[in-house]
Symmetry: C2
Subunit: 589 residues, 2 copies
């Protein structure tokens, strides 16, 4: 498998479209994030992804992880420990970590760009530091100073790794059903007892110690999700003794086979409370919100990898003549990239990836602004946008990551289905991204149930204001008619939800998934229009990158003509309401 | 893995909607196809699928096929030879075969119903007899009497199996690029030399002899696809000697791992011409047309299997409370089937499967009528319909088979992604059905490039007449407004193609895939309306199966409200034409 980090594309979005090289260094604490520094980091990240991570993607899938029943340990595939060591030593685990604990304090946005490259190259390997990142966030926000001092430095340096232990056999989405118990001990610690499943990186051989963040219930816990607390449970204790938090086995999965998905048994393991009793979900959501953005980037990263492979295939593979007559008469047939239906599958990938990249990077920059801007007003406005867009980035980019990988496979015909090419693995690996960190159905419910109505709809109003102001730009905007029409449909759907979903939550639930998709398509249309405006300006300014900027206009046209019309049917789907979903009895299925 | 053949659903479509128990026995030669006989066969087929084939589906996937380099033979998974023997001994390979060669001469439609059950239960196992069926068809239509007498009886009895050897490394879709050579020999046979890839059942241990149908070029062949001939090449010759047609290895694939996909090396193997020199593609298309229908049924079969598993899961799995308040207050949570978004995923499967089943069975009955009706006029009209609908059945039902399996996986959350459940295998297995027997993009080109314009558009006119007559039924038809709107969109798209696609083949190519989908959605809306009319009549006649018939109305409502609106965006996608697809240069991708 070969992968080339799309640095030019990433720079286009970060600098030219979103002005990241101006906005980010102006944030207090982010002064180092100059274009020079960011470019240097991206170049180094690209090398690591291309030369160290990508070459292990296929072999990791074939070999998988292995569990040893005797020692209850997990062996990752050949080359993984060394690749992880290089990743950590190069400072990638420390990128956005707080400076006082050894982090580099750089913007979260840079992590986002790194995540894209890592997940294009090797999703399974990227999972290990990805989960650590979430643990660092939760610990930074809610941990006691003692816990922070003890655990953050080594998690940030990558010497240790972290996990999120939520799921149990009887509870996935519904965390109120958790049974794992935490008994207070005389020394102020807790004895944690229970079984967790689907724990990514619960046990492996990449690091010396693993720090589990575990949801459990205190003896006096109220019922349901309001009675859950969060605990830190290390694999090894201070004195080097083994804490009884053991891996009981590995899941056998469709994909991400090189990522160790563990059953974890806590047998009275020693743990410490993070944050307040019974408020564990709050702390966990800090982990999950940034994790959800990152999972969206996983979808984007895999789509990019599939696009590169299938695009190169389409330029090489000779099959049939163009419908407009031979294009390569000297060859036995034309390269299949001449065929409209092959282009349809390539452009669906290209238009979705590039538009999705703008949406994801924008959201990441808003996250940095929300954390670090000078004024409360700026922070709040940015946080509104992050809250609103996070479920959309997660669900839409992972759905599309899977669909794009499938389009890549499809245009390669039988070759795509064989393991001689990496695309079938991209399809299998990307499949889980639509499920974990909250299924995409849950993301849609989060959007319509929590985010839309929050603070009187402040966030969605601010989003529509951003679009309206843009559309009203003097002299018009590229593809203004298409953007205006889609925005109108999204507004209509939003109004429908306000009128029907407030009093009847099943109406909101019935509209949730098509609404999220309608929102995403419209938001990305906005970014496509802006990207074309940027490209036109660059050409007007005399740029010599004519192919690069011309491609932006062509790709945007495809997006507006071939993908954005889905907003028509999504609105119709929403407006027919819940009756045809809820009418059947369970027995009639 | 458990599977229950949906006999009641199959009978509903075959007898109540399509009147198969009247139409089929009236066809000359099909007098035996009474309802009694058909019911008996379906019941037996269901038992075989449920008790013999389904139990081997998971184990077959895990074990896969194994190639022995020394003997150049292939071992199928444990239990496959015995299951295949039971399948053949029960007469399933002989069902629709010509009586004079030992077949039962029953309608092709019965094969279709059997194929659905077989592919729900075990797609890999079903591939072996499936390919034989195609070989029997080609041989029956084009083989010399000598070849027929020698090969048909044992192919029909299932003692031997057949293959279709088309693809070579440099040619898949574009068969004009074939390099395999056929040299005439003094005894009237030919020496076949060349390499074929992706040959399903090219070598295996289920039967005593394998009969390869091989595309190759004669020494005096004209260039391109007009210079291809078809040859019969048996593994073992009459005297029992080994013909040098060897398996050189197996493909490693994403799915259908228990189906042996072989590299075949023909090293001067003895073969005999089928049909006329240079007219091999014509004979091959006889195989492929019925094969394409059957592949559509594979998509349907897998969707049904995924639906059954995910529906049962949704009724059992407890997670969160209904948005309308607790539905099972005595339990820790409600079964997830109460949630609108879970229902959306279940109903997408149910509505697509049941509507697709009606479309597929209808097309199969038309195939029987095309072959066997008493008058030329009836035969021609039915053949028109088969030609028109075959690419639609193939492409739409395999696309949807994959999407339905994915919806099944999705609603099961993390469980769906693990190999503890069979759904991830359904996703992997179904993926190839969108590619083989002509990719779905090729099906769409076949529809717009060949089928629409054939004989002055006779077939599509006859299709529209069928819909128009139905819509005009006195007193109206169920969901008449929705059906009329969709039909109007399809007519508009057809007109657009007539005006733009005739003079500019790239316009036709650009519209092909969305047009096929628009056609399929509209055709299925027609069958859904008819199914509701049938259900309403049954209820009015006092049927006590109130749940069964009520579910038809509810499912149809979902189809009309939530799926059929896609026709809006598909029409818009078509009408924006080719510019945004063809504008980019290859370098700009």
């Amino acid at each position: 498998m070969t992968y080339r980090a799309p640095l030019r594309e990433m720079q286009f979005v970060l600098y030219e479209v979103l002005n990241g090289d101006t906005v980010l260094p102006e944030l207090p604490g982010c002064e180092d994030a100059t274009r020079e520094i960011m470019d240097a980091m991206l170049t180094e990240g690209a090398k690591l992804a291309e030369n160290v991570l990508a070459p292990l993607n296929t072999s990791g899938d074939r070999e998988g992880c292995h569990y040893d029943t005797e020692s209850k340990t997990v062996k990752t595939p050949e080359g993984f420990p060394d690749a992880y060591r290089q990743f950590a030593e190069a400072g990638w685990t420390a990128l956005a970590g707080p400076v006082e604990y050894g982090g580099q304090g750089l913007p979260h946005t840079l992590n986002t760009l790194a995540e894209e490259m890592v997940c294009s190259a090797n999703l399974s390997l990227g999972m290990y530091p990805g989960l650590t990142h979430g643990a660092v966030n939760a610990l930074t926000s809610y941990g006691s100073d003692e816990l922070k001092e003890k655990y953050l430095p080594k998690l940030i340096s990558g010497e240790w790794s972290g996990t999120m232990c939520l799921t149990e056999p009887q509870c996935g989405t519904d965390l109120g059903l958790i049974r794992t118990k935490a008994e207070p001990q005389a020394d102020g610690s807790y004895a944690i007892t229970g079984n967790k499943i689907w724990i990514t990186g619960g046990e492996h051989d990449l690091v010396d110690n693993i720090v589990h963040l575990v949801l459990a219930k205190l003896p006096d816990a109220p019922g349901g999700s309001k009675g859950i607390s969060l605990f830190l449970v290390p694999k090894f204790l201070d004195d080097g003794s083994r804490n009884p938090a053991f891996c009981g086995g590995l899941e056998h999965k469709m994909g991400i086979k090189a990522s160790a998905t563990c059953v974890m048994n806590f047998e009275g393991a020693k743990g410490w409370l993070i944050g307040e009793p019974h408020k564990g979900l709050q702390a966990m959501f800090v982990m999950m919100n940034s994790a959800r953005l990152m999972v969206g980037l996983q979808g984007l990263g895999i789509a990019e990898a599939a696009y590169q492979v299938s695009r190169d295939f389409a330029k090489e593979r000779l099959q049939s003549r163009s419908l407009a007559g031979p294009q390569a008469p000297e060859k036995a047939a034309d390269p299949i990239i001449v065929h409209p239906d092959v282009r349809r599958m390539l452009l669906r990938q290209k238009a979705t990836i590039e538009g999705g990249r703008a949406l994801a990077y924008f959201t990441s920059m808003q996250l940095d602004i929300a954390h670090k801007a000078a004024t409360e007003e700026e922070r709040q406005q940015a946080d509104d946008m992050v809250q609103l867009l996070t479920p959309i980035v997660k669900a839409f980019l992972t759905d599309e990551g899977f669909f794009c990988a499938n389009d890549g496979l499809q245009l390669m015909g039988g070759s795509g289905f064989t393991q001689d090419w990496p695309v079938e693995q991209f399809v299998r690996d990307s499949r889980i991204t639509r499920i974990y960190e909250g299924t995409n159905g849950i993301q849609a419910l989060d959007l319509v149930g929590r985010k839309l109505g929050h603070a009187g709809g402040r966030a969605v109003k601010s989003f529509f204001a951003m679009l309206d102001n843009y559309i009203k730009t003097e002299g018009g905007v590229p593809f203004g008619d298409e953007l205006k029409a889609a925005t109108g449909r999204l507004q209509k759907a939003t109004m429908w939800l306000m009128q029907n979903g407030m009093g009847d939550r099943e109406q909101a639930g019935s509209a949730a998934t098509p609404y999220l998709r309608l929102f995403a398509l419209t938001a990305i249309a906005y970014f496509w229009s802006r990207m074309v405006a940027t490209a036109e300006q660059a050409l007007a300014d005399g740029s010599t990158e004519t192919d690069f900027y011309a491609a932006k206009k062509e790709t945007a046209a495809f997006y507006m003509h071939k993908l954005l019309p889905q907003t028509l049917s999504l609105l119709a789907e929403i407006e027919t309401g819940k009756d045809s979903l809820m009418g059947m009895t369970a027995d009639q299925f």
